[in-house]
């Protein structure tokens, strides 16, 4: 099935396939799939949008790409985004029946550009996890190696694209939840600059870290989607008031000034425990850039070793506060025990019984790190170190244009392989720093290990430098293919 936006639009123009036919094909594939990558399929909505797309193509004679760059393109949307009238579960039994009364800005923007919302993708409950083993709706399988995890928390979004069940998908990345599954599944996954994509209608996990982004089979598609979704939103008070970047995709093919491109290589990212095949693939990618004329510059990010500790204090503290609203009062499920409660404290405890273990664990940890007497030792201290981590990047970006390294120490692991929480948390060490510093970063395929499992290249750029980031990524993708 064709899975690149330009190719699909070409096929629409030539009347080889209609948007309705394409949507039906993807819906059939999604229904027949065993990957468990969708929680809800939006068949009626999708077919209505596809019909509207076909009418628009008929009236224009071809796809009006400028006004509707996503016309008729079936997308998977992580089940963390609200859509009016469509069930939004966040992969939690707490929200099993939640039908929100409003639509996320991101979804509104994509649909306004012609996208077809095929369905809501599976994920780790409330985006808490790195393997998609924490969903109340079951594990998502890796699209090519079913005994392996697809990565998380946007595992359903990754498997849906990797398995050919939608053209592209939207994920969210709080500590690596787009880039990690992109690395494991051989996709392009972009986490934009914090504040560049609206969080309105995206169920909050850790508000100072969460950022939505595209997961695609090509850099160009990631750029097209980024152009369609970024920009200031007055409904999100942390949305950056900078001019939206609408021409990233158009700028991809601009000639790169290779002689003046400096790529930072942080020694701290080539960590102990880095699988030799992952290191070899990433080093080979770096050599490709060097062969084009770019300069590889050793840089130091000395506070990297503190990033997991900082992240797992900041993220869980924010989560414990954000998830307080999930209380069975205004929306979501109220279990029978809560209906029989005799006072409000008892009601809350009974109502919140449906959280899964990882969510409960993080709420407990976050409540502790914010509690009276401990908040200074944990939360405040973590935020001080967070500043040092950002300063490391600020300093590095005075010398280089991009930073490159691995996304994760290993390729996709087996289900159940990382059984204790700390072991799982340490797996995020290379993706977390970009979230703490709010930087744009992407993962893109750069090789495979001996078992045929994909390996990702991690590129990180200064704030709001998505255009430069995607240009370099596109050059690598095209150059490697040639």
């Amino acid at each position: 099935m064709i899975q690149k936006i330009d190719e699909i639009h070409g096929a629409f123009d030539r009347r080889e396939i209609t948007a309705v036919q394409l949507t039906k094909k993807y819906l059939e594939a999604a229904r027949a799939s065993r990957l468990n990558s969708f929680i809800t399929l939006c068949e009626e909505r999708a077919l209505g949008q596809a019909r509207a797309a076909d009418e628009k193509i008929a009236s224009h004679g071809r796809v009006p790409r400028d006004s509707h760059p996503l016309l008729g393109i079936p997308l998977g949307i992580k089940d963390i985004f609200t859509i009016e009238g469509v069930r939004t579960t966040c992969a939690s039994k707490m929200l099993d029946n939640y039908v929100p009364p409003y639509t996320a800005t991101l979804v509104e923007r994509l649909e306004a550009k012609g996208a077809v919302t095929l369905g809501k993708t599976n994920m780790d409950e409330f985006a808490m996890g790195g393997s998609n083993e924490n969903s109340a709706y079951g594990n998502v399988l890796h699209p090519t190696h079913p005994d392996r995890v697809p990565g998380g928390s946007s595992g359903g979004s990754a498997a849906a694209v990797g398995g050919g069940l939608c053209v592209a998908s939207i994920g969210t990345d709080t500590g690596g939840s787009i880039r990690l599954p992109a690395h494991y599944c051989g996709l392009v996954g972009l986490k934009p600059t914090y504040g560049s994509v609206s969080r309105y209608g995206m169920v909050a996990f850790a508000s100072s870290l969460d950022q939505a982004g595209p997961m695609t089979t090509s850099v160009r598609d990631a750029a097209i989607l980024f152009d369609a979704m970024n920009g200031h939103d007055p409904r999100d008070s942390t949305s950056a008031n900078v001019p939206p970047s609408a021409k990233t995709a158009a700028a991809l093919t601009e000639e790169i000034d290779w002689k003046n491109l400096k790529i930072g290589v942080p020694a701290e990212y080539f960590v102990e425990g880095l699988a030799p095949e992952v290191e070899a693939s990433v080093r080979a990618a770096l050599q490709w850039f060097e062969s084009k004329g770019a300069k590889l510059v050793p840089v130091s990010l000395p506070h990297t070793r503190y990033s997991v500790a900082v992240y797992y204090i900041v993220a869980v503290s924010e989560a414990s506060s954000n998830l307080a609203r999930i209380d069975g009062v205004r929306f979501g499920v109220r279990p029978p025990g809560a209906r029989e409660a005799t006072d409000l404290a008892d009601f809350y405890r009974k109502a919140r019984a449906l959280f899964g273990p990882e969510v409960k664990r993080r709420i407990i940890l976050g409540t502790f790190t914010l509690s009276s007497g401990y908040a200074d030792a944990y939360f405040r201290r973590a935020c001080q170190v967070r500043r040092l981590i950002r300063q490391d990047f600020d300093e590095a970006f005075t010398k280089v244009d991009l930073i490159a390294g691995p996304v994760s120490p290993t390729t996709a692991f087996r289900f159940g392989e990382k059984s204790d929480p700390l072991q799982m948390y340490l797996n995020d060490i290379l993706t977390i720093p970009a979230n703490l510093a709010g930087l744009p970063a992407l993962s893109m395929p750069c090789g495979q290990d001996g078992a045929g499992l994909p390996i990702g290249l991690h590129l990180i750029a200064p704030p709001f430098a998505e255009a430069a980031l995607l240009q370099a990524a596109n050059a690598f993708e095209q150059g490697r293919r040639a």
């Binding site: 939640y98 039908v99 009364p101 504040g195 100072s208 007055p234 008070s237 942390t238 949305s239 950056a240 008031n241 503190y306 997991v308 500790a309 900082v310 204090i313 414990s320 009062v329 205004r330 929306f331 979501g332 499920v333 209906r339 006072d343 409000l344 404290a345 008892d346 009601f347 809350y348 405890r349 009974k350 919140r352 959280f355 273990p357 409960k360 664990r361 709420i363 407990i364 940890l365 409540t367 509690s371 401990y374 030792a377 944990y378 405040r380 201290r381 973590a382 935020c383 001080q384 170190v385 967070r386 500043r387 040092l388 950002r390 204790d420 929480p421 700390l422 979230n435 709010g438 930087l439």
Partner: protein
């Protein structure tokens, strides 16, 4: 400097409005203790004079016009915000008696 403080699971669960099973209590105590011991690494750093960073970018406070944007009513005239409420009475969210 070691940061590790023993966690009083019962008290924290009460603050978090969570009811833990005996198994969860036992497992979480051990797992969270392990995570907190790992976080001792932050005690190595001298942080006097370092301002905490709560947001990655220095965004100005975003004010907005003080105008309500109601979600409106559904085809039955019921406010849309009540559509997913577990229990409703007289256009309000019903909860147990608290006083």
């Amino acid at each position: 400097m070691a940061l590790t403080q023993p966690i009083n699971m019962r008290q924290i669960a009460q603050l978090a409005r969570l009811e833990l099973t005996a198994e969860e209590d036992l497992a979480f105590t051990e797992q969270i203790d392990q995570v907190l011991r790992y976080m001792d690494v932050l005690g190595e750093l001298k942080l006097e004079g370092v301002e905490p960073l709560f947001q990655p970018h220095d965004l100005p406070t975003a004010f907005r016009v003080d105008v309500a944007h109601p979600f409106g009513v559904d085809s039955n005239g019921q406010p849309k915000t009540l559509a997913s409420a577990p229990d409703v009475q007289d256009s309000g969210f019903k909860v147990p008696q608290i006083v």
